[in-house]
Amino acid sequence: MILMHTKSNETFRSDSGASWASRSKSVKEEADRELTEAFALGHESAMRGVYERWSSLVYTIALRSTRNAEDAADVTQLVFIAAWKGRAGFDPNSGALPAWLLGICRRKIADFYAAKARVEIAASETVESVDAETVHQVATDSIETIVDRVVLADELARLGDPQQKIMELAFFNDLTHIQIASVLDLPLGTVKSHIRRSLDRLKTRLEANSVTH
C-alpha cells in the first residue's frame, strides 16, 4: 500500500513541471504537492496544512452559497472532517486535492440546500407548488458559478506580482496591454506574455476544479 502510494506520488511530481511555470508558482506548487502526498499517506500533521491552504476557499464558497457565516463555518467543518475520514478514497492520480475537497464541499452545500428546502416545504401549506427538481437544479447551477468565481479569485491572488496586478488592470479596469505596460512601467512584450500565461493558469486551475469526483 505504502509502496503503491510512493510510486504514484513520484509520477505525480514529475508530471506537473510545466515549462512556463514561474519560480514562485513552482515553489507554491511544490508545497501543495508535498501537502497532498502527506495527506494521501494519512499523516495527521498534514491535516493542519491542508486546512490552512484550502479552508479559505471552502469557507468562502460556503459563505457565498449559504449567505450565513454560521452555516458556512459548519459546512467548512463538515468538509474537512469528511475529507480526513474519507482520505482513503482520495487518489492523487485522478485529480488534485483541492478539486477533491471542492467535490466534498459541493455535496455538503447541496445537503444544506436540501435541508433548507425540506424546512421550507414543511413550513409551506402548498407543497405541490414547490418543484423540488427545479430547486435542486438552480442550487446546483449556483454552486458551480460560485465555485468558479471563488477559485478564480483565489488563483488570481496567487499569481504573484506583477502578474496579479496586470490581470486586475485588464479584468477590472479594462485597460489594454499598452496602457498596463505604461501604468506599471513594464516592457510591452512582458505584459503580453504575462497576460497569456496568467489566462492559461486560470484556465488550468478552473479545469482542475471542475473535475467531477
Binding site: E44, S56, Y59, T60, A73, L78, I81, A115, M167, K203
Partner: protein, 245 residues
Amino acid sequence: MSHIDPNTLALIALGESALPADLDHIRGCVMCQSEVDELTAIAASARSIDAEDRPIAPPAFVWENIESALNADSPAHAGSATNSTNPANPTDPAATVTVRRKSRSMFALAASVGVLIGGLGTYFVVSTDDSSARATVVAQASLDPIRDVKEPASASVQQIDGREVLNVQASGLPATDGFYEVWLLAPDSTSMISVGMLDASEGGQFPLPAGIDLEAFPIVDISLEHFDGDSTHSADSILRGTLII
C-alpha cells in the same frame, strides 16, 4: 497562413482590438477560434468576480472544532480528554460551549420540523468538581445493548445547582466512522430531544434543557450517526434504556 501568436489571441479574448487580417484568420480557423472562445470564457468569469468572491479565512473556532472531532475519533487520542491542548476539554467551559453550539447549528432548522422537538441551542458545562460536591441523583437507567455492544452501560440524571445533567457511562462502544449521539425519547418514540454527542471511549455529561419533563422523555437512546448533514435520528440505535425516576 500561420496561426495567430498565442499572446495576441489572449489579448483578443480580453476584448482588445486586433488586425483585420488576424480576425479573418480566426474566423476561418477552428483551432484559433476555439482557443479564443476558451480564453474569452475565462476572462468573462474572472470579470464577474466581486469583493465577496475573494477567499477569506474561516473563524478560528472552525479549526478547533475539526481538531477536537478528529482527536475524539482517533484511537491514539482516545481517553486524552484531559489533555490541556484539546479544545473539547470538559474543564474548559468556553471552548466546549463553542464546540457544542457550532456542531449542532447547521441543520437546526431542519431539526425543528417533523418528529424532532429540537436540539439544545446551548451547551452549559458543569465542572466535574462541583458535580461531586452538590449532585443529587434523580433518575437512573441501565442501557441495554441493541447491537454491537458488549460492555454494560448506564445513565443517570443528576440535579446540580438546580440544573439537570444526564450522565452516560458507556465504554464498550465500537470504533466508528461516524459518531454517537445521545437522545431522550418519548415512550412511544415519536418525539425526541437530542442532548449531545457521546465520546465513544469515555461516556459523557449532558446538561438537559431547563424545564424538561423527564416523564415525557424517559428513554435514553444512543444512536450511531454519520457525517451526512442529516440532523435527524439515524434510526440506528446502539444502546437504550428507560429512566427510573
